[in-house]
């Protein structure tokens, strides 16, 4: 994680949007390629990039594509404010700038042979998708894979096509839930933590990987703990306001850590050691 002294880490590289796919009313997935050098940069599962719309600003966005697959880098972005809304106004051929990849990564090698529970809320499935597809690309190395995914309502579930494809893979189970049903929804209603029983959650030889809104992470981690998951077997991402992504601007600090460089992936043991008053979740 060290850079080159003469390399300016803050300068983004020009990229071009090659495709845009709508996920929900306010979420789109963008495929990007660099303009200056054709090679996609090499990244790890769970890392993020800083993406700029020049004149609007720069935001941290997880890389949702998988390092195990060739093809464009993909980013799934919710229109949340100024920069992300400006991105939603762009289409194929338009320019974006990006730098990275930053942050640590989800574990991979240490997950081999284990049963995996992916627990996601809302757009939190985007960073997990990178790891999920990487795992699925060598599924024979892993135990059971269960994907538990919740959204506010059925219309806000992302990657619906892919969820169907995942379901069809032997050894993979997908469980969906929504906070509020809408006409036509026949699945369960409730928080993602209400899926524990349906998914026959068991801590045995298992690791749970969580990504979603802070409040979901908080309850899901506590819930898994209550079900016998050890602290090292609960892996999560923390979200903090970020400006630089490289451990300098200070915004993302918690205690002595920077979420941008020491995280965003932490296990529950690390999270429990963080000072609670700094608002870990």
């Amino acid at each position: 994680m060290t850079g080159d002294r003469n390399n300016n880490e803050y300068l983004p590289r020009p990229a071009r949007i090659t495709a845009v796919r709508r996920e929900t009313f306010d979420v789109k997935t963008f495929s990007l390629e660099f303009v200056d050098r054709a090679d996609a940069f090499s990244y790890k599962q769970g890392q993020f990039a800083e993406i700029s719309v020049l004149g609007q600003g720069e935001v941290p966005i997880s890389i949702t594509s998988s390092p195990s697959r060739k093809g464009p880098m993909e980013f799934t972005i919710r229109a949340a404010g100024r920069v992300t809304s400006a991105m939603h106004d762009l289409g194929p051929g338009d320019a974006l700038y990006l730098r990275g990849p930053y942050g640590n990564a989800f574990p991979f090698e240490t997950l081999k042979g284990r049963n995996l529970y992916f627990v996601a809320g809302g757009i939190g499935l985007a960073p997990l998708r990178s790891l999920i597809n990487m795992v699925l690309d060598s599924i024979e190395d892993f135990g059971d894979v269960k994907i538990l995914y919740g959204a506010k309502n059925p219309e806000e579930l992302c990657f619906r096509g892919e969820l169907e494809e995942w379901k069809a893979i032997p050894g993979v189970e997908v469980y969906l839930t929504v906070d509020r049903a809408s006409p036509g929804w026949t699945g369960p209603v409730g928080l993602v933590t209400a899926l524990w029983d349906a998914a026959a959650l068991s801590p045995e030889n298992a690791v749970a990987i969580l990504c979603g809104p802070p409040i979901m992470i908080k309850f899901a981690a506590a819930g898994l703990s209550g079900r016998g998951f050890g602290d090292e077997a609960i892996v999560m991402t923390l979200e903090r306001y970020m400006k630089c992504g490289v451990g300098k601007c200070g915004h993302c600090n918690i205690g002595g850590s920077f979420v941008c460089t020491d995280g965003p992936v932490f296990d529950y043991a690390q999270v429990k050691r963080m000072p609670e008053k700094e608002g870990v979740f």
Binding site: T2, N7, P213, C249, G250
Partner: protein, 347 residues
């Protein structure tokens, strides 16, 4: 360490000669009366040197502003793409206090580690620091460099250090760069042989003027083991969140990044930011992990006194006393350290 003598009357002529090579930054009295580190304008040198402050007057802002300005352009953008904006002129800092030297060295380490910060590092890559130790505390009652182990005279880290002997300065050489500077301007320097003992006495007297000080080491130990939530809550209620303490602090390095654009062209800027502000951690969703006054106040003290020692191996407070001097409601690091070490209520 070799030593030299520099007559006080030669300081201005020396700076004038050196300005052929260096951009010179020195404590200057500004129009409104404040003293700050400012670049001597090369075209109005004589006039600017009139405003050079050589006695122990406090500078309002720390010299970090030279390498980490309040706002700076990171790059410009437009139809031609991105144009990096870095600055790396040779800089001579004259008259830096010992505590401020510690602050600069601390910030150097922070900006250089992991992902090196090109803006700070290029501004500072070609610099010469001439420290001038304080005979009396510039911020009487607020300075606590002796307690923090950062002054009033520096042990290391300077290129040259001046010790005031009355009509002249004993010049201590701290680096090869410092020695080269003396060689380049040798007409101004005589040998300092035989005056070292006088200089040691001056340093001892200077330390004595600082008064009783604070128990810094005890406070650092207690920050790890103790519980100071009540202090943070009380201080957090009194603070008006103006940010002055952060801006004047030599080791505060937080920044915000914004784009300024007009049509298709513009620039990306960074500006000072600070952990005490409510918006510092607020996310687009409105979720704010650290909204309370108590937690934001705690962040400032714990970052410098608890986490910096843990992560950087040394305290992030160098005892300059600026935060107390600039706070409109009388909050300051020295008072906080006293509260921690002595269990008192100072503010």
């Amino acid at each position: 360490m070799s030593t030299y003598l520099l007559r006080k009357t030669d300081v201005r002529p020396l700076l004038k000669e050196a300005s052929a090579v260096w951009d010179i930054f020195a404590p200057l009295r500004e129009g409104v009366g404040d003293v700050n580190f400012k670049a001597l304008p090369k075209d109005r040198l004589a006039e600017a040197l009139e405003n050079l402050v050589l006695d122990d007057e406090p500078t309002l802002l720390s010299p970090k502003t030279i390498f980490f300005p309040q706002n700076e352009t990171m790059f410009a953008f437009g139809s031609g793409g991105i144009r990096e904006q870095v600055e790396s002129s040779p800089k001579l800092l004259f008259g830096v206090t010992s505590c401020d030297l510690s602050g600069l060295l601390f910030s150097d380490g922070f900006f250089a580690k992991d992902f090196p910060d090109r803006y700070y590092l290029s501004r500072s890559e070609n610099r010469l620091i001439i420290v001038k130790g304080c005979l009396k505390p510039p911020r009487q009652g607020s300075c606590f460099c002796a307690s923090a182990g950062t002054g009033p005279f520096a042990q290391r880290g300077f290129d040259l250090q001046l010790v005031d002997l009355g009509g002249e300065y004993l010049v201590e050489v701290g680096s090869g760069k410092g020695e080269s500077f003396i060689l380049a301007h040798s007409a101004f320097f005589a040998s300092g042989d035989g005056r070292e003992r006088a200089a040691e006495a001056v340093k001892r007297d200077a330390t004595a003027t600082l008064g009783p000080g604070v128990d810094f080491d005890k406070a650092l130990r207690l920050m790890v083991t103790g519980d100071f939530e009540k202090n943070f809550a009380r201080i957090g209620e009194r603070c008006v969140y103006c940010g002055a303490c952060l801006y004047v602090c030599p080791t505060c390095t937080c920044f915000n990044v914004v784009d300024r654009a007009d049509g298709g062209s513009g620039s990306r800027m960074r500006t000072w930011d600070g952990c005490v502000f409510e918006g510092y951690t607020r996310e687009a969703s409105g979720h704010n992990p650290r909204p309370s006054k108590t937690a934001r106040t705690a962040r400032r003290y714990e970052h410098k006194l608890k986490y910096d020692p843990l992560v950087a191996g040394r305290s992030g407070c160098v005892g300059c006393g600026r935060c107390l001097d600039s706070c409109p409601v009388g909050i300051g690091m020295s008072k906080f350290i006293r509260e921690v070490a002595d269990g008192t209520e100072e503010m």
